[in-house]
Symmetry: C2
Subunit: 559 residues, 2 copies
C-alpha cells in the first residue's frame, strides 16, 4: 500500500509572458510567484497556477524554482494528478503491496499473502504472524546529490556545506526529548527526583487500577529471536516527492504527527526527530533535497514499524478525506489519554511473566548496547566527516596539481625543437589529464557512497538518541517495583498491588524486548544494505581509476 | 663492458666470539670494528676481516652493520671475489656488452656489432656511427627502499625523512659550479665583468693561436636530429654495489674524478654533482642505500655519455691496475691543459660552419628550454614531495580510522545478544581490516612508484643546474665574436682572427647542439621509462585495492 507525500513547488517568474489564446497558456508577470502544478509537460513548458488559482502553461525558462514550500498533499496510488516520475516510483514499489485496502494489512493468515515480496530473514523464519524483515527490495526515490563543490579547496575548510550537512549538532542528540514546543501530555519524566508516587512516573501505569477501554491492543508474540511485535503482512510505504495538484497539508502537520507519536509511543518506541526544518540558505536546492531525503527516511522508518504504522493517528495522517475529517481526527488524537507510560496498558504479551531479575538484566543489556552503538555510530560519523572533507578538498587538489605538473612538463618538452617528441609529449599530456579526471572523480565520489553511509548512521544516531529516555522509563519502573516490599510493609500499597506491579513490569520488559528485536532486525538489514552499496561503489571507483591509468600507460611506447 | 664499484661494508661486533680452531672462524671482541668481506656464506655466518687483516667466519647475529664506508674497489666482470648477487646483476647486463676489450668500443663499423642490445629509436635511425639510444633494458640494482615510516602520522610532519631525501636544497642547484673545494683549473668564469681579454674567458679558445697537440679529438657528426657526438657501439656499464674483497679506492676518488670531468668537459657538457656525501644519521641504512642508488645513477649517466666515458680520466678510474698505475694516471690528468674552454679545441664538427646569427639562435633556444624544463622539473618535485607526505601520513591514517570504526561497530553488534548477527559482523570486521590493509598499501606505495619519478626528476634537476654556466660560456663567446668588428677596427685583433673566432664559435655551437641532442635523446628515453613504470605501478595499486574491496563486498549477503 503506497502513499505519496507531494510537496508544493513554488517558482518566481523571471520574464513577462503573454498567453496565446486557445493554447492553455497562462499569462504571468515578472516577479510574480506561481505554483508548479505539473513539471513534466515537455517541450520546454511547465504547468503552473497563479495566486488567483488560474492554471496554464508557461515556458520553463521563464521561471526559476525558488522554494520547496511547506505545503504538500498526500495522494494514494491511483491519484490522477501524479506525474510520470511519481508513477515510475510507485510502480517499483507497488509490486510489493498487497491490494488496495489499507485495512487488509491485518490479515491474520500466518502464511501471508502470495503477493508478499518481503525478503525472508536468512537466519530462520519466525513462528507466528511476524515477517521479521519488513522492508523488501524497494528502491529509494531520487538520490540526493549532495552539496555543491566549493571552488576554493582548502585544508581548513569547515563550512557546513562540505560536511554534506552531517555536522555533529547537539540538536538531534536526544531525539525525542529535546524537540521543543508543547508536548501535550505527560512525557516529561524527571528521572532523578522520584520522591514517591507521582502522576507522571511509571507508577501511573504500574499501579493504575483500571485501564482505559481501548480497542487497540498491541500483542507481543514469541518469535525465534524472542519477543516480537505483530507485523502486518503488507506494509505501508510512503514516498516523499515534489509536485502537487491540490494542497491540503502543511509541513506543520508533520510536526503535529511527530508530537502525537512521541506522546503515545515514546515510552516504548524510539520516535526520532523530524529532519531540521530551518536550514541555512533554505532556498538552496541541495538543502531542500536533503530535507526531502531525510523526511523520506523518517516516513519510511515510521511505515516500517508495525505499531506506529497501524496507529490511528498515522492512518489519519495518510488517509483523511477532507478538512472535516482531519479536524475531527486531530481533536480525537489530542484527547487520547493512553499516552506516556499508559501505552503499556495496551500491550499484551503472549508469554509467561518475567521475574524482576530478568527484567532488569534485559534492561541493562539494552542500555549497554544502545550506548555502545551510539559511540560506534558517532565514531563513523566523525571519521566519515573528516574523510568527506579530505575527498572534496585537499585530495582532489593534489591530483590536480600532479596532472598539471605532467602537462606543464609536456608543454616544455614540446618546445624542445627536437624531433621525435610527440609520442612522449602526447602521452605525458594524456597522463596529466587523466590525473585531472581522477581529481574530479575523487571530489564527486563521496556523494555516491559515503553519503549513504553517513545518512544511515545519522538516522541511527537519531534513533539511538531516543533510547536513554525510553530506558530511563524502564529503569524507573524497575526501581519502583524493587521498592514494592517496602511499600507493602509501610502499607503504602496492598500485597496484591505488588503482584500487579511485577506483572506490569514484565509487560514493559516484553515491549522493550520486542522493540529491541525490531531495532536489531532493521539494523542488520540497513547496515547490510548500506555496506554493500558503499563497498560496491568503492570497487567501481578504484576500478575506474585503474582503467584510466591503464589507458594512460598504454600511450607510452616501449623503447 | 661492465665494471663494478664495490663498497666496503663495516660492522660493529656486538658480542664476544671465540673462534673454534680449524673452522675458519675469526675471534672478535665486543665493540671491535670489522670489515665484511663476504656476506653470502649462508647458515647464519658471514666472513669478516679485522683491523689486523685477519679473515674468518663470524656469526651474523653477533655483528651489526654500521656504515657503508668510503672504501670501494672496482672489479671487472670476471673478478673471482664477486658475490652471487653481483654475478646475477652482471649476468643481466653482460648480454649487452660487446666483448671484453675495453678499447673495442671504438669499432668504426657503422652497422654496429651483432651483440648490440640497444633499442633503436622508433623515430628513425640516424645515419653515421650513432646509436641514439645508449641505454638498453638494463635492470637497476637493488631498488632503494625509502625512508622508514614514522610512527607519528602528522599533517605537520616536515622531517627530511618523510621527503625521502628529496628536500629542495640549494646545494644541488647549480650543479657543477657550487661544489666546493679546489677547482684545479680555470672553470670560474665571471660573466658579468668582461672588460677585455682575459685568460679565463672564451677568448682563450676563440683566439688561441695554437692548439695543444692532443690525440683525442672529438668528432661531431650530422645525424637525423642534427649535430651529434660520436657514440661507441657498445657502452660502458658500471654497477655500484656493496661487498668487497680488496680495497683500493676511496670515496674521495669519486670526488677527484668529478673534479677532473668538470674541469675538462664542464664548458661543453653538464657534469652533475655527486650525491651528498654527508647525510643526517649516516649510519642509517636507508640513507646509505639512497646514496648508493644515486651514485649508481651518476655513474650510469657518465657511462652513457660518449665523450665522458671514452675520456682518459674515466678510463683510468675504471681500469687502473695498481697503486703505481693510479698515481701516474692521476698526475697526468691533473696536468692536462686542455681544460675549461680549451675543450672546444678538441672538437671537430663534420659540418659546414654556422654563421653567428644561427649560433646565437641555438644558444637562446637551449637557454629557454633548459630554464623552462628546470621549472617544470621543480614543479614535479614539489608536487611529488607533497604527495609523498600525504601518502605516508594523513591519508593512511584516515583509512586506518575508517577501518577501526567499522571494526568497532562490528564489536558492538556482536554484543547485541541478537541471533543472526554473525554474517553481518564478520563481514563488517573483514571490511574494517580491508581498510587497514589499504592504509598500509597507501603508505608503502610511494616507494614503489613515486620514488622513481622523484629520483629521475632529481637527477634532471642536477643536470639542468649545470646548464646556466655552460650556456654562460657560450653567450660570452658569442658576445666576444660580436665585438670582433670593433676589435678589428681598433686593431686589437687581425681580420683573420675575426674569421677564426667565427669558425670557433661555430664549433662551440656544434658542441652545444650535439650535447643538447644527447640530452634530449636521454631525456625522452628516461621519461618514457619512468612514466611507464610509474603508471604501471599505479594501475597495480588501484587494481589491488579494488580487488580487496570486492572481496570485502562479497562477504555481505544479499538480503
Amino acid at each position: 500500500l503506497v502513499y505519496v507525500c507531494v510537496f508544493l513547488v513554488q517558482a518566481q517568474v523571471l520574464y513577462d509572458f503573454t498567453a496565446e489564446p486557445g493554447n492553455n497558456e497562462l499569462t504571468v508577470k515578472e516577479g510574480e510567484t506561481v505554483t508548479i502544478t505539473n513539471q513534466n509537460i515537455g517541450g520546454g513548458w511547465i504547468e503552473a497556477q497563479n495566486s488567483r488559482g488560474e492554471v496554464g502553461l508557461v515556458p520553463e525558462d521563464y521561471i526559476e524554482v525558488r522554494e520547496c514550500g511547506d505545503d504538500f498533499s498526500i495522494s494514494s496510488l491511483s491519484h490522477p494528478a501524479l506525474c510520470f516520475q511519481c508513477m515510475c516510483l510507485l510502480n517499483l514499489i507497488s509490486n510489493a503491496s498487497n491490494g488496495n485496502d489499507p485495512w487488509s494489512v491485518w490479515n491474520t493468515d500466518p502464511s501471508g499473502g502470495s503477493n508478499n515480496n518481503w525478503a525472508s530473514n536468512p537466519e530462520g523464519t519466525q513462528t507466528g504472524k511476524n515477517a521479521p524483515d519488513p522492508w523488501g527490495s524497494h528502491g529509494h526515490p531520487q538520490a540526493y546529490q549532495g552539496p555543491a563543490e566549493d571552488d576554493e579547496w582548502d585544508d581548513d575548510w569547515d563550512d557546513m556545506k562540505s560536511t554534506g550537512g552531517y555536522v555533529e549538532s547537539e540538536s538531534g542528540d536526544s531525539g525525542a526529548m529535546q524537540r521543543g514546543g508543547a508536548h501535550a501530555t505527560s512525557m516529561k519524566i524527571s528521572l532523578n527526583k522520584f520522591p514517591g508516587f507521582s502522576k507522571s512516573g511509571p507508577e501511573l501505569y504500574l499501579l493504575c487500577k483500571q485501564f482505559a477501554k481501548g480497542k487497540d491492543k498491541l500483542p507481543i508474540y514469541t518469535g525465534e529471536v524472542g519477543p516480537v511485535w505483530s507485523y502486518p503482512e503488507s506494509q505501508l510505504d510512503c514516498i516523499v516527492h515534489f509536485h502537487t495538484n491540490t494542497v491540503n497539508h502543511r509541513y506543520k502537520h508533520f510536526d503535529w504527527l511527530y508530537e502525537r507519536l512521541l506522546d503515545k509511543f515514546g515510552s516504548a518506541i524510539p520516535i526520532p526527530s523530524l529532519p531540521d526544518k530551518q536550514v541555512t540558505g533554505r532556498f538552496e536546492e541541495e538543502f531542500i533535497k536533503m530535507r526531502m531525503e531525510r523526511l523520506q527516511g523518517w516516513m519510511t522508518r515510521m511505515c516500517r514499524h508495525p505499531v506506529v504504522s497501524s496507529s490511528e493517528v498515522f492512518q489519519l495522517f495518510l488517509t483523511y478525506k477532507d478538512e472535516k475529517d482531519w479536524k475531527m481526527g486531530k481533536r480525537k488524537a489530542e484527547k487520547d489519554e493512553t499516552v506516556g507510560v499508559m501505552i503499556f496498558s495496551t500491550i499484551e504479551p503472549e508469554a509467561p511473566d518475567l521475574d524482576l531479575i530478568e527484567v532488569e538484566q534485559k534492561c541493562d543489556q539494552f542500555s549497554r548496547f544502545t550506548k555502545a552503538m551510539d559511540d560506534g555510530v558517532k565514531e563513523i560519523l566523525t571519521v566519515g566527516h573528516e574523510h568527506w572533507k579530505r575527498c572534496t578538498g585537499p585530495l582532489p587538489k593534489e591530483y590536480q596539481r600532479i596532472g598539471k605538473a605532467f602537462q606543464n612538463l609536456s608543454t616544455v618538452f614540446t618546445s624542445s625543437g627536437y624531433q621525435g617528441e610527440s609520442t612522449l609529449t602526447d602521452a605525458l599530456t594524456a597522463a596529466g589529464k587523466t590525473y585531472e579526471d581522477i581529481a574530479q572523480m575523487v571530489a564527486e565520489q563521496p556523494k555516491k557512497d559515503l553519503h549513504f553511509l553517513m545518512e544511515t548512521n545519522n538516522e541511527y544516531k537519531g534513533l539511538l538518541g531516543c533510547f536513554p529516555d525510553t530506558i530511563g522509563v524502564h529503569k524507573a519502573a524497575i526501581d519502583k517495583v524493587k521498592e514494592a516490599d517496602k511499600l507493602v510493609a509501610t502499607s503504602k500499597i496492598a500485597p496484591q498491588d505488588k503482584v500487579t506491579m511485577g506483572k506490569r513490569a514484565s509487560t514493559m520488559s516484553y515491549a522493550l524486548q520486542a522493540e529491541m528485536n525490531h531495532f536489531h532486525s532493521n539494523r542488520i538489514y540497513d547496515y547490510n544494505r548500506v555496506m554493500q552499496l558503499y563497498l560496491e561503489e568503492q570497487v567501481k571507483f578504484y576500478e575506474t581509476i585503474a582503467a584510466k591509468l591503464r589507458q594512460a600507460h598504454s600511450q607510452f611506447t616501449t623503447m
